[in-house]
Symmetry: C2
Subunit: 298 residues, 2 copies
């Protein structure tokens, strides 16, 4: 495994690995991350390994996707541990560019997706998704992968990136991968490290609300979107530290909110998504409905 | 030469040509156009042929780069003649997608370059360059060329696309090619067909103004940007049908206007750019200063 910090070297090394694989047909699987890797990221690397000949992981805390009052400076970083995690998963190249390598000058070019980015995290974090789609475009152009792997924990990000790929005819397949959870249900997130003991305990309310919603839908053919919205709010508000940013039920991947009267029983194109703040820490979680889906645990 | 109308087929054919060339190292040269090809386009195809193993020409009148009151519907088209022109220049693939092939749904994704697009044609044609950078991104992702060839007649477009390529780390080299002119100096343009006889005659004022500016600069070490601005206006306004949209002297490729007092003698990083309307027809022309540059004719 090589750790590479410059764009020119990562291009060279990918080209070398593809050529040395003989046929020139070797596929590149790419896992873009902001580091502080956890088992969720590891599951993406395993999926990439299974579906590709060469696995490239990037670690880059991308300043332009953070708002002025967000946690760019304090975002957790642990490069040595991340490199070890990548090695254990059989990654071939870890690309760790500096901010000045990625942005030698402030970018004048922005890739932006409209509509899909107006709501949910886009509404709370103006400009966030422009930063994401711009840096993902850059990384795709640098790595030129055949497949790229993204966690469904940020389901809106998956929808936005898939839209960008479709609209711009990018020659990459987006592979969404399931959310990975702690044994008690908390979705893994690099930001979980911010939580106090008490916040960590109350943060379970996200996965609990999603589970209750799924169970209600599975067992109640007459349940409406309005019922689910009310139920989510009630479950989450039972936690005194929880401040709801959004709790929404919508079509996926269009992210169109369901009308209040719409029935949800038996539907599979529906996403229930939550963003809840505990102190300064904002957690997200979601579930895409399946008939009798069971939340998967680590 | 193959004429291809779908994205999937053009990808297949490029891949086939690259593989059949043996080494897998065959390079693709790309000439994106809006058709109604003239000798300016032919010069781009020849440059592509010289510098690449495989030449792809696209013909696509891109609706999203036209404003609501611009000439999208009436933009001149002649596919049969264009295909013949491409054949004569040794093009390998002519890609002629329909609007619905390029935009099966309205694009939610936009690639935009700021700053550079605020002035000159960007000021007169709001949204124009977003349409250009978005469609060029799409075409680059479809064709995946090593080099792409653009005429310097739209010098701002060259600067904007180069900025996009730099900012987004696109793996393509932009090759700017010289303006091609009629023997009397008029820069070739698909839109010249709109001009009446009288307008065509008076349109010579663009290249004349540029030539007078170049000569003044070559022979007058004390000339300032303000002198040139005044001179351009005087020469153009001598033509009664000419309505100046802009006539500007700026650094290239930054497109920063020179300060009035700046000297221009002996400089090579300076672009003089004009946009002038004759009736409904808007013509552009420019010259990048060189020591003793001679305007090249067909």
């Amino acid at each position: 495994m090589k750790v590479i910090r410059t764009i020119s070297e990562v291009r060279q090394e990918i080209s070398r690995l593809r050529q040395s694989s003989g046929s020139g047909e070797a596929t590149v699987g790419f896992v873009p991350t902001m580091g502080y890797l956890h088992e969720g990221h590891a599951s993406l690397m395993r999926a990439a390994k299974e579906q590709s000949d060469i696995v490239v992981l990037s670690i880059f805390v991308n300043p332009i996707q953070f708002g002025p009052n967000e946690d760019f400076d304090s975002y957790p970083r642990d490069e040595a541990r991340d490199v070890e995690t990548a090695r254990l998963q059989g990654v071939d190249i870890v690309f760790i560019p500096s901010v000045s390598e990625m942005y030698p000058e402030p970018t004048q070019t922005t890739v932006s997706v409209s509509q899909l980015t107006d709501r949910l995290c886009g509404a709370s974090r103006p400009g966030h998704f422009d930063g994401v789609t711009t840096v993902v475009s850059k990384l795709f152009n640098i790595v030129q992968p055949q497949r790229a792997f993204f966690g469904m924990k940020d389901a809106q990000q998956v929808a936005v990136i898939q839209q960008m790929v479709n609209d711009l005819n990018m020659a990459v397949e987006i592979v969404p991968c399931p959310i990975v959870r702690e044994s008690d249900g908390l979705a893994l997130s690099s930001r979980n490290v911010y939580l106090s003991g008490e916040q960590r305990e109350q943060a379970l309310v996200l996965s609990q609300a999603l589970r209750v919603a799924q169970e209600t839908i599975d067992t109640n053919p007459s349940v409406t979107a309005a019922d689910i919205r009310e139920m989510l709010r009630k479950v989450i508000q039972a936690s005194p530290l929880a401040v709801i940013d959004y709790s929404e039920i919508q079509a996926f991947p269009s992210l169109q909110p369901l009308a209040d009267h719409e029935m949800v029983y038996g539907r599979e194109d529906v996403l229930i998504a939550l963003a809840v703040k505990f102190g300064k820490t904002r957690l997200i979680d979601n579930i895409k409905l399946h008939k009798s889906e069971v939340l998967s645990h680590v």
